[in-house]
């Protein structure tokens, strides 16, 4: 088998090992893609339980118990980069009803939804898996949050496997009974701040409360996420991989790149060249960079 397999060997001698950890709650293609690229740089996956595997498992179904145990351990892990992937949105679908223009419940086409009010006003958001999506998210309400009733079979299993990781303040248990712990937030109790975090799902940086939480917990990390609905997480990893700035040096020390004048805006622009229908933003040092606006302070 003859081959012609490329060129340009980077010098990594004497460079510190870079570590990363991942939580996948839905389709794992985006985490698998990023993990493969990072491992090709020689970075080490320090995700508890799953780090030695070549692929990233989805925490749902039969993997839920192992996944929950892994996330508990992850709160004790220090990593240079974190990546969280899954579904992301408001606490419940029924929360949209609080942001309509006519005081009526949100209609099927969402034509009566005040989108700005939703994204600026929703207090409680999080990542979640498909089991949470098809139970709590789809059917629960803040004043009636038991989606299972007397459910049996698949519905009862989905309720049992539902996983939600808050990306805002935690909702009171009186309106949201499932665990809401976000292991990455919990690392801030003891670990040094990571270099960066990729939040790969819908609207991870659209909600003001989520931006505030991420910036509050990680003021010096670069946080890369979406400002729109996406179809799947690989759109985030594709956009990141295609940005000229995201070379090995960036992943090793993003602060040395982004602390230079204009580089956050440049990165944000590069992240938004790959798709015409997907928008990516970033948080860095309490500023929010997105394609449709000038940089804003995160309040």
């Amino acid at each position: 088998m003859a081959n012609e397999m490329g060129r340009n060997v980077p010098n990594t001698i004497g460079q510190a090992p870079i570590t990363f950890a991942m939580i996948e709650l839905a389709d794992p293609a985006d985490c698998n893609s990023r993990k493969s690229q990072w491992r090709a740089y020689g970075f080490k996956d320090v995700t508890p339980t799953f780090g030695a595997q070549s692929t990233v498992p989805t925490i749902d179904g039969s993997m839920t118990a192992n996944g929950r145990a892994m996330m508990q351990q992850m709160a004790g892990v220090s990593a240079d980069w974190f990546m969280i992937s899954g579904h992301h949105g408001a606490l419940y679908h029924s929360d949209y009803d609080s942001y309509t223009t006519d005081g009526q419940p949100c209609n099927e086409d969402h034509t009566n939804l005040d989108w700005d009010a939703l994204y600026n006003g929703e207090q409680y958001c999080g990542f979640f898996n498909e089991s949470y999506h098809e139970t709590y998210w789809s059917y629960a309400k803040r004043d009636h949050h038991d989606p299972s009733g007397n459910a049996t079979g698949a519905t009862a299993a989905a309720v049992a496997n539902a996983v939600y990781l808050r990306t805002t303040d935690a909702a009171p248990s009186s309106i949201a009974p499932p665990e809401q712990d976000n292991a990455v937030f919990d690392t801030t109790a003891w670990a040094p701040e990571p270099k960066g975090i990729i939040v790969s799902a819908c609207n991870t940086l659209s909600y003001k409360a989520a931006r505030k939480a991420w910036s509050g917990y990680f003021p010096n990390a670069v946080i890369i996420g979406t400002t729109c609905c996406i179809n799947l997480g690989t759109q985030v990893t594709n956009a990141i991989a295609a940005a000229a700035m995201t070379n090995q040096q960036f992943w090793r020390d993003p602060q040395s790149v982004l602390d230079q004048d204009g580089m956050c805006v440049q990165l944000m622009k590069q992240l938004n060249t790959s798709y015409s229908t997907i928008t990516i933003g970033l948080l860095y040092k309490k500023k929010f960079y997105e394609p449709s606006n000038d940089p804003q302070d995160v309040e």
Partner: protein, 314 residues
């Protein structure tokens, strides 16, 4: 680099580089000095065929006319890579902005596209539409809603489209009229990547999963009209395999394997045995493999910043 297709032979490529489609001759790239980093146009090498091409402007080479059909909002750009015929616009009413994959049937009349379906403010998934290039009409498939990457193929023996779920290995079969038929993914194996190939026997599915031991397993199947005939899984010894793509005519699989910084391109047989392998040079990162349609021994190996070939020799 986001994608490539061969054009009139394995030496002539159309490459989606940055935001352009570029026609470039492989020998020019292949014989460039090792120390040189090549940039494809503009302003680098190659002939620019189209600009403002994003990952959601799907394109395909129409097999009869050899023209590129590039999806834009409300129309296709029809481009002759050879420059012999002027570019044309083909209007298609309702074609949305954002098409993520496309396939064209052999007569060049119908183009299948993956588009976005917005469910609510926090959810969107993929739907499938078919453009009729003769009438300019768009036909929407009503039942498919997928939160995974989809591969599109024309299944000649059954004269239907196949829409492949690249995460779980299931597929839909659609005749362009009735609601699509769902064909189940392999059961009992947590698939992490699947590919689909048109072969003379029909569409072949190749699905990778991770064994409890950590080894990679491969389960393959042939799509019948209403079900997939799966063969017993085989273990793929060696480095974990991230991509396995079946040859369009032969029972052999191109595999991209990786452990840590080491990547390897392998060719395996039905039993999973390695027939040939080569290490990827350090510092080069690949993420996809594509069999040549012009040379049965040639394999295209690509990454976002790398393009290589592997040639099988006796």
């Amino acid at each position: 680099m986001h994608g490539l297709r061969e054009f009139e032979g394995a030496d002539h490529l159309i490459v989606h580089s940055a935001q352009s489609l570029v026609a470039v001759d492989w020998p020019i790239l292949q014989h460039a000095p090792d120390s040189l980093t090549l940039e494809l146009g503009p302003p680098g090498l190659g002939k620019v065929l189209a600009t403002n091409v994003t990952l959601d402007s799907a394109w395909v080479v129409e097999p009869k006319s050899k023209r590129i059909l590039l999806a834009r909002e409300g129309e296709f750009d029809s481009i002759d890579p050879g420059g012999r015929v002027a570019n044309q616009k083909i209007k298609v009413t309702g074609l949305p902005r954002g098409a993520f994959a496309s396939s064209v049937n052999p007569d060049g009349v119908h183009v299948l596209l993956v588009v976005t379906r917005v469910i609510n403010p926090d959810f969107a998934n993929f739907a499938v539409v078919m453009a009729d290039l003769t009438t300019g009409q768009l036909i929407r498939e009503a039942t498919i809603g997928a939160g995974v990457d989809l591969e599109l193929l024309w299944d000649a023996p059954f004269r239907t489209w196949v829409i492949g779920d690249t995460s779980r290995g299931g597929l839909w079969r659609w005749d362009g009229q009735k609601p699509a038929l769902r064909l189940a993914a392999p059961q009992g194996t947590p698939v992490h990547a699947a590919t689909f190939a048109s072969s003379p026997e029909g569409v072949m599915v190749s699905a990778l999963f991770t064994e409890k031991t950590g080894a990679t397993g491969l389960v393959t199947g042939r799509a019948e009209l209403d079900r997939v005939i799966w063969t017993p899984p085989v273990v793929l010894p060696g480095l974990p395999v991230l991509v396995a793509r079946r040859h369009p005519t032969l029972a052999r699989w191109a595999c991209l394997a990786q452990e840590g910084t080491r990547q390897q391109v392998q060719v395996r047989d039905t039993a999973g045995k390695v027939l040939a392998e080569t290490d990827v040079r350090p510092g080069v990162y690949l993420d996809n493999l594509l069999w040549s349609t012009f040379s049965s021994n040639l394999l295209w190996c690509s990454g976002i910043r790398a393009l290589a070939t592997a040639t099988l020799s006796e």
